[in-house]
């Protein structure tokens, strides 16, 4: 088993909560893990990415080589396109469709969505909307993790266990919200995949 994921978004959107849950699940499954994050200046509203690598064999590089990522998991549509050179030939792009506009030259949103729809394997999901239906817009990152989960060789159970471990100290209510968000995202992606 080997799974390389590029997580992308904008500083402040909290992509690291997704990485933390995946990391927790990898640990309980006794997998090797490397996860490189962006700290520092870019966290002030700049483009941020995290390279997450899971494997049952020793992993060398903290960075993912070009063309080897099975997934680009982006919490922002424009950012999903920034890391395309990392995507493998069979790779999926899983992206949120809600734009985060904090730059004056943000391209036309329709143009961005067109480029995303033109990708061969893509799941585009309005994570905010799905999270709101699940109970709170704040859980949108777990919607994204759910939408990516059918493409990651980790059981839904172990990912849910990861969510419990990470959000546990915030109380049962927060855990349940994030579990609902995760399941809604997962159901959405499974449906799209079978369409």
């Amino acid at each position: 088993m080997k799974c390389d994921i590029v997580l992308s978004g904008v500083g402040g959107q909290g992509i690291l909560s997704i990485a933390t849950v995946l990391g927790q699940a990898a640990v309980t499954n006794h997998l090797y893990l490397k996860q490189a994050e962006t700290h520092g200046m870019s966290q002030r509203g700049g483009a941020v990415q995290s390279y997450l690598r899971l494997s049952d064999k020793e992993i060398f590089s903290d960075l993912i080589p070009a063309g080897e990522a099975q997934l680009i998991l982006s919490v922002e549509p424009l950012e999903s396109l920034r890391y395309l050179p990392f995507l493998s030939d069979e790779g999926y792009v899983i992206t949120n469709t809600t734009p985060y506009v904090n730059i004056p030259d943000y391209p036309d949103v329709e143009k961005v969505m067109e480029a995303i729809r033109a990708l061969p394997r893509v799941i585009a999901i309005d994570a905010e909307e799905v999270a709101r239906e699940a109970g709170n817009v704040k859980a949108s990152n777990m919607v994204m993790l759910g939408a990516a989960s059918p493409f990651i060789e980790l059981s839904a159970e172990s990912l849910e266990e990861g969510i419990r471990a990470i959000f546990g100290r915030k109380g049962e209510e927060v855990v349940n919200l994030n579990l609902r968000a995760f399941r809604a995202g997962r159901a959405f992606a499974n449906q799209k995949r079978n369409d």
């Binding site: 640990v27 060398f60 920034r82 990392f86």
Partner: protein
Amino acid sequence: MTTKKLLLGVEAIGQGAIDGGISGVYAYPGTPSTEITEYIQENRTAIDRNIHRQWSANEKTAMEAALGMSYAGKRTLVCMKHVGLNVAADVFMNIAVTGINGGMVITVADDPSMHSSQNEQDTRYYGKFAMVPVFEPANQQEAYDMTQTGLELSEQWGIPVLLRITTRLAHSRSGVNLVPQPQPENGIRMPEDTMQFVLLPGNARKRYNHLLSSQTLFQKAADDSPYNRFEEGYDRSLGIVCCGIAYNYYRENFPARSPYPVVKIGQYPLPEKALIRLEAEVDEILVLEEGYPIVEEQLRGFYGRGRKILGRLDGTLPRAGELNPDLVAAALKLERSERAGIPSWLANRPPALCKGCGHHDTYKALNEVMEEHGRGKVFSDIGCYTLGALPPYNSIYSCVDMGASVTMAKGAADAGLFPSIAVIGDSTFTHSGITGLLDCVNEKSNVVLIIVDNESISMTGGQDSSAFGRLESICLGVGVDPAHLHVLEALPKNHEQMVQLLRQEIAWNGVSVIIPRRECIQKMARRKRG
């Protein structure tokens, strides 16, 4: 039974220092080194043992305090980013000569590609400059292990050691096996030689000779180090020298086994025996190192008459920037299929001031006033407020080193530039701006100093500012005229007042200090979340 913990490279160093028996960590925040100290600050064992873990005013005061703790016989960790070592260079160069008592590891985090820095200087040069051993981990486990080895060996040798990491290892997470039994702290133990720390010339020469004669010891340690090793290969057309995490980028291209003989380096001075063997066995040598081509230069020599050395100097690899598996693949001439590109119209997303940050209010007022005086007359410094150099504000025209805004404004005023204005953060000011202000006061320089006070070291994550609640008294103590020291809240409703104050103080010939103050919006949000 060993415990395995998921740790960032920086956290692994913090954990290694705790398990290696430190009694104190001394540091000033700076990306990518900040989280070493933060990890120790939040660690249960560190809290229970009451390990010293408060931030210092700057890297120099940090290293000096650590030296005092080492003098008393206890182990210490000092942490900083690469440019921080420039600030601490005075004490650093001299403690190589005095030596130390309790073990001391100086961790310096380099930032090749300048993700969050002003330059990409390579700390290994400082190691060579001071003639102290340098450790360079390839992964999180080595970062943890080397911190403990470094504390042990530095104490045994009576010499501080450098632990050099780079951004990628600092901020990448992986599983780390922890030692079952952490090392207990040392008790107070005075230096045996009462003259050891007295660098009067006669004694300094003696100590320097001691440092020189210790070099053979460091060389032997590097030759025997478990962090330096020779790996066999069947294809001897090429030999590879890998330093630190460059080893990972190399092996990523040959995960099963390397076809070429490899010398993996994690401890300096360079392991002579392994390198001489490599030189004898292969036709050409490719040097893979993160940062400057320091090893490549040494292997190549001045005349370059030995084996052909490939690396950053001959263009096999880019001269600047961090390495990655793809650059290494290209250097090895490995075939890679064409990848999809990034759409050409994709906008960049640079960092920006947070919505609601008080710096917006300062720059809006400053821009309005400076319209009357033309561009280029505002010097600035290092912090979140440096983002004022970018659109939409384009307010400031310098960012060089900590505190330089104050003294550059002074020098420009000396040259006759009017007005001459400095914008500096509260923590940058206490780090290295106070002495510059003293120069201004002594000469009654015609400058306006704007200390943008967000009561926090914000760019690195909201650490406590050492000037908190004391900025005015510091300025007055340095000798600023109370009539020309003004504090106001950085809020849109105070725009007119700020404009007015700026005009008034620009018009006055002398040193003025204006402090627009409002708590960092990120810190406030964190405080409210609890």
